[in-house]
Protein backbone atom coordinates (compact mmCIF):
# COMPACT_ATOMS: atom_id res chain seq x y z
CA UNK A 1 0.00 0.00 0.00
CA UNK A 2 2.58 2.52 1.14
CA UNK A 3 4.79 1.29 -1.66
CA UNK A 4 2.11 2.05 -4.22
CA UNK A 5 1.63 5.55 -2.84
CA UNK A 6 5.31 6.35 -2.99
CA UNK A 7 5.68 4.73 -6.38
CA UNK A 8 2.89 6.90 -7.75
CA UNK A 9 4.52 9.92 -6.11
CA UNK A 10 7.85 9.08 -7.69
CA UNK A 11 6.48 8.52 -11.14
CA UNK A 12 4.32 11.61 -10.97
CA UNK A 13 7.29 13.67 -9.90
CA UNK A 14 9.39 12.26 -12.70
CA UNK A 15 6.74 12.90 -15.30
CA UNK A 16 6.27 16.41 -14.05
CA UNK A 17 10.01 17.01 -14.01
CA UNK A 18 10.24 15.90 -17.60
CA UNK A 19 7.25 17.82 -18.84
CA UNK A 20 7.17 21.21 -17.09
CA UNK A 21 8.10 24.15 -19.22
CA UNK A 22 9.57 26.03 -16.32
CA UNK A 23 12.94 24.63 -15.39
CA UNK A 24 12.74 25.45 -11.69
CA UNK A 25 9.37 23.76 -11.44
CA UNK A 26 10.95 20.82 -13.18
CA UNK A 27 13.67 20.69 -10.58
CA UNK A 28 11.17 20.91 -7.75
CA UNK A 29 9.21 18.07 -9.28
CA UNK A 30 12.46 16.17 -9.61
CA UNK A 31 13.03 16.68 -5.90
CA UNK A 32 9.59 15.25 -5.19
CA UNK A 33 10.47 12.25 -7.30
CA UNK A 34 13.76 11.77 -5.51
CA UNK A 35 12.07 12.00 -2.15
CA UNK A 36 9.53 9.42 -3.21
CA UNK A 37 12.31 7.14 -4.31
CA UNK A 38 14.05 7.63 -0.99
CA UNK A 39 10.84 6.61 0.74
CA UNK A 40 10.73 3.50 -1.42
CA UNK A 41 14.26 2.69 -0.33
CA UNK A 42 13.27 3.09 3.29
CA UNK A 43 10.36 0.75 2.72
CA UNK A 44 12.73 -1.75 1.21
CA UNK A 45 14.76 -1.61 4.43
CA UNK A 46 17.69 0.26 2.92
CA UNK A 47 17.69 2.99 5.53
CA UNK A 48 21.18 4.22 4.82
CA UNK A 49 20.59 4.44 1.10
CA UNK A 50 17.30 6.25 1.57
CA UNK A 51 18.82 8.92 3.76
CA UNK A 52 21.87 9.16 1.56
CA UNK A 53 19.52 9.60 -1.39
CA UNK A 54 17.90 12.59 0.26
CA UNK A 55 21.22 14.01 1.42
CA UNK A 56 22.91 13.70 -1.95
CA UNK A 57 20.17 14.21 -4.48
CA UNK A 58 17.89 16.63 -2.69
CA UNK A 59 20.63 18.33 -0.73
CA UNK A 60 23.36 18.48 -3.33
CA UNK A 61 22.40 17.54 -6.86
CA UNK A 62 19.14 19.47 -6.92
CA UNK A 63 20.85 22.55 -5.51
CA UNK A 64 23.58 22.14 -8.10
CA UNK A 65 21.04 21.99 -10.89
CA UNK A 66 19.30 25.04 -9.52
CA UNK A 67 22.56 26.93 -9.54
CA UNK A 68 23.20 25.83 -13.08
CA UNK A 69 19.75 27.00 -14.11
CA UNK A 70 20.22 30.38 -12.55
CA UNK A 71 23.71 30.71 -14.05
CA UNK A 72 22.43 29.91 -17.53
CA UNK A 73 19.52 32.35 -17.08
CA UNK A 74 17.05 30.06 -18.80
CA UNK A 75 14.73 29.86 -15.84
CA UNK A 76 12.10 31.97 -17.58
CA UNK A 77 9.49 30.29 -19.75
CA UNK A 78 11.02 29.92 -23.21
CA UNK A 79 8.83 31.14 -26.00
CA UNK A 80 9.70 28.49 -28.54
CA UNK A 81 8.76 24.85 -28.12
CA UNK A 82 10.62 23.03 -25.37
CA UNK A 83 10.73 19.70 -27.15
CA UNK A 84 13.67 18.90 -29.33
CA UNK A 85 13.20 18.91 -33.08
CA UNK A 86 13.05 15.15 -33.48
CA UNK A 87 10.67 14.13 -30.72
CA UNK A 88 8.46 11.82 -32.72
CA UNK A 89 11.23 9.31 -33.29
CA UNK A 90 12.14 9.63 -29.64
CA UNK A 91 8.67 8.63 -28.53
CA UNK A 92 8.96 5.46 -30.55
CA UNK A 93 12.33 4.65 -29.04
CA UNK A 94 11.11 5.30 -25.52
CA UNK A 95 8.05 3.18 -25.97
CA UNK A 96 10.19 0.42 -27.41
CA UNK A 97 12.57 0.48 -24.48
CA UNK A 98 9.78 0.52 -21.95
CA UNK A 99 8.05 -2.24 -23.82
CA UNK A 100 10.97 -4.60 -23.74
CA UNK A 101 11.74 -3.77 -20.12
CA UNK A 102 8.19 -4.31 -18.94
CA UNK A 103 7.83 -7.44 -21.01
CA UNK A 104 11.02 -8.93 -19.66
CA UNK A 105 10.00 -8.06 -16.09
CA UNK A 106 6.66 -9.66 -16.63
CA UNK A 107 8.00 -12.82 -18.17
CA UNK A 108 11.26 -13.23 -16.28
CA UNK A 109 11.86 -16.01 -13.77
CA UNK A 110 12.09 -13.63 -10.83
CA UNK A 111 8.43 -12.85 -11.38
CA UNK A 112 7.37 -16.27 -10.13
CA UNK A 113 9.58 -16.61 -7.06
CA UNK A 114 8.68 -14.51 -4.05
CA UNK A 115 11.47 -14.62 -1.50
CA UNK A 116 10.83 -13.82 2.13
CA UNK A 117 11.88 -10.34 3.27
CA UNK A 118 14.93 -10.34 5.54
CA UNK A 119 15.30 -7.62 8.14
CA UNK A 120 16.87 -4.31 7.16
CA UNK A 121 20.60 -4.22 7.60
CA UNK A 122 22.30 -2.24 10.34
CA UNK A 123 24.76 0.61 9.96
CA UNK A 124 27.33 -1.61 11.69
CA UNK A 125 27.33 -4.20 8.91
CA UNK A 126 27.43 -1.56 6.20
CA UNK A 127 30.36 0.11 7.88
CA UNK A 128 32.24 -3.14 8.24
CA UNK A 129 31.68 -4.21 4.66
CA UNK A 130 32.53 -0.75 3.40
CA UNK A 131 35.77 -0.70 5.34
CA UNK A 132 36.85 -4.25 4.67
CA UNK A 133 35.57 -5.80 1.48
CA UNK A 134 34.88 -2.58 -0.38
CA UNK A 135 37.72 -0.50 0.99
CA UNK A 136 39.39 -0.12 -2.36
CA UNK A 137 36.26 0.95 -4.27
CA UNK A 138 35.56 3.41 -1.51
CA UNK A 139 38.95 5.03 -1.96
CA UNK A 140 38.57 4.99 -5.71
CA UNK A 141 35.26 6.80 -5.32
CA UNK A 142 36.99 9.32 -3.09
CA UNK A 143 39.60 9.94 -5.77
CA UNK A 144 36.89 10.15 -8.41
CA UNK A 145 34.98 12.77 -6.46
CA UNK A 146 38.11 14.81 -5.93
CA UNK A 147 38.93 14.67 -9.60
CA UNK A 148 35.35 15.55 -10.50
CA UNK A 149 35.48 18.52 -8.15
CA UNK A 150 38.69 19.83 -9.64
CA UNK A 151 37.53 19.12 -13.17
CA UNK A 152 34.19 20.83 -12.66
CA UNK A 153 35.89 23.88 -11.25
CA UNK A 154 38.38 24.03 -14.09
CA UNK A 155 35.65 23.67 -16.67
CA UNK A 156 33.26 26.14 -15.17
CA UNK A 157 35.79 28.70 -13.98
CA UNK A 158 35.29 32.07 -15.58
CA UNK A 159 38.33 32.76 -17.72
CA UNK A 160 39.67 36.24 -17.24
CA UNK A 161 40.65 36.73 -20.86
CA UNK A 162 37.03 36.43 -21.93
CA UNK A 163 36.03 39.31 -19.75
CA UNK A 164 38.85 41.55 -20.95
Amino acid sequence: MLFKIFAVLTVAGAVAAMSFRNLVHAVLALIVSFAGLAAVYLLLGAQFIGLAQILVYVGAVAILIVFAILLTRDSGITSQSTTSSSWRGSIVVVLGVFGVLAWSVGHSAVYQQATSLPQGTSMQEIGNVLMQRFALPLEVIGVLLTVALIGAVTIAIYEKKETR
Binding site: A7, A46, F98, T115
Partner: protein
Protein backbone atom coordinates in the same frame (compact mmCIF):
# COMPACT_ATOMS: atom_id res chain seq x y z
CA UNK B 1 2.71 -9.33 -8.68
CA UNK B 2 5.55 -9.93 -6.25
CA UNK B 3 7.17 -6.92 -4.57
CA UNK B 4 10.27 -7.52 -6.65
CA UNK B 5 8.30 -7.30 -9.83
CA UNK B 6 6.71 -4.10 -8.55
CA UNK B 7 10.08 -2.55 -7.91
CA UNK B 8 11.34 -3.61 -11.30
CA UNK B 9 8.29 -2.18 -13.02
CA UNK B 10 8.66 1.07 -11.14
CA UNK B 11 12.30 1.32 -12.12
CA UNK B 12 11.46 0.49 -15.72
CA UNK B 13 8.91 3.27 -15.71
CA UNK B 14 11.37 5.71 -14.16
CA UNK B 15 13.99 4.73 -16.68
CA UNK B 16 11.66 5.24 -19.59
CA UNK B 17 10.53 8.62 -18.29
CA UNK B 18 14.11 9.70 -17.82
CA UNK B 19 14.97 8.46 -21.29
CA UNK B 20 12.03 10.31 -22.73
CA UNK B 21 13.15 13.49 -21.05
CA UNK B 22 16.72 13.02 -22.17
CA UNK B 23 15.57 12.40 -25.70
CA UNK B 24 12.80 14.92 -26.13
CA UNK B 25 13.69 18.01 -24.13
CA UNK B 26 15.85 20.54 -25.88
CA UNK B 27 17.29 22.09 -22.75
CA UNK B 28 20.62 20.55 -21.79
CA UNK B 29 19.86 20.81 -18.08
CA UNK B 30 16.67 18.86 -18.52
CA UNK B 31 18.58 16.25 -20.46
CA UNK B 32 20.89 15.97 -17.50
CA UNK B 33 17.91 15.61 -15.18
CA UNK B 34 16.64 12.80 -17.35
CA UNK B 35 19.96 11.05 -17.07
CA UNK B 36 19.84 11.44 -13.31
CA UNK B 37 16.42 9.81 -13.33
CA UNK B 38 17.76 6.90 -15.32
CA UNK B 39 20.59 6.47 -12.83
CA UNK B 40 18.08 6.41 -10.02
CA UNK B 41 16.09 3.75 -11.80
CA UNK B 42 19.22 1.66 -11.97
CA UNK B 43 19.81 2.22 -8.27
CA UNK B 44 16.30 1.10 -7.50
CA UNK B 45 16.95 -2.07 -9.45
CA UNK B 46 20.07 -2.75 -7.42
CA UNK B 47 18.26 -2.21 -4.16
CA UNK B 48 15.39 -4.42 -5.21
CA UNK B 49 17.63 -7.24 -6.27
CA UNK B 50 19.67 -6.91 -3.12
CA UNK B 51 16.53 -7.04 -1.01
CA UNK B 52 14.77 -9.92 -2.71
CA UNK B 53 17.89 -11.58 -4.12
CA UNK B 54 19.24 -14.96 -2.97
CA UNK B 55 21.60 -13.62 -0.28
CA UNK B 56 20.99 -10.12 1.08
CA UNK B 57 23.69 -10.63 3.69
CA UNK B 58 26.39 -9.93 1.11
CA UNK B 59 25.17 -6.31 0.84
CA UNK B 60 26.60 -6.19 -2.67
CA UNK B 61 23.66 -4.38 -4.19
CA UNK B 62 23.69 -1.90 -1.35
CA UNK B 63 27.37 -1.16 -1.84
CA UNK B 64 26.82 -0.81 -5.54
CA UNK B 65 24.16 1.80 -4.94
CA UNK B 66 26.37 3.69 -2.52
CA UNK B 67 29.10 3.91 -5.11
CA UNK B 68 26.73 4.70 -7.92
CA UNK B 69 25.29 7.56 -5.90
CA UNK B 70 28.80 8.87 -5.49
CA UNK B 71 29.42 8.54 -9.20
CA UNK B 72 26.12 10.23 -9.95
CA UNK B 73 27.12 13.20 -7.81
CA UNK B 74 30.39 13.51 -9.69
CA UNK B 75 28.55 13.13 -12.97
CA UNK B 76 26.10 15.87 -12.10
CA UNK B 77 28.88 18.23 -11.07
CA UNK B 78 30.90 17.72 -14.22
CA UNK B 79 27.86 17.70 -16.46
CA UNK B 80 26.55 20.97 -15.11
CA UNK B 81 29.98 22.51 -15.34
CA UNK B 82 30.05 21.45 -18.98
CA UNK B 83 26.65 22.93 -19.57
CA UNK B 84 27.75 26.20 -18.03
CA UNK B 85 30.88 26.22 -20.16
CA UNK B 86 28.83 25.50 -23.28
CA UNK B 87 26.42 28.24 -22.35
CA UNK B 88 29.28 30.65 -21.94
CA UNK B 89 30.57 29.98 -25.44
CA UNK B 90 27.32 29.55 -27.41
CA UNK B 91 24.90 31.66 -25.47
CA UNK B 92 22.37 28.85 -25.33
CA UNK B 93 21.55 25.63 -23.53
CA UNK B 94 19.50 24.36 -26.43
CA UNK B 95 21.35 21.27 -27.50
CA UNK B 96 19.69 21.25 -30.88
CA UNK B 97 21.93 24.17 -31.70
CA UNK B 98 25.01 22.60 -30.14
CA UNK B 99 25.90 20.38 -33.04
CA UNK B 100 29.29 21.65 -34.12
CA UNK B 101 30.47 18.01 -34.18
CA UNK B 102 28.22 17.09 -37.08
CA UNK B 103 29.87 14.95 -39.70
Amino acid sequence: MTPLANCLLLSALLFSIGLAGALMRRNAILVLIGIELMLNAANLNFIAFWRYGPNPEALTGLMFVIFSIGVAAAEAAVGLALIIAIYRHTKTTNIDQVNSMRG
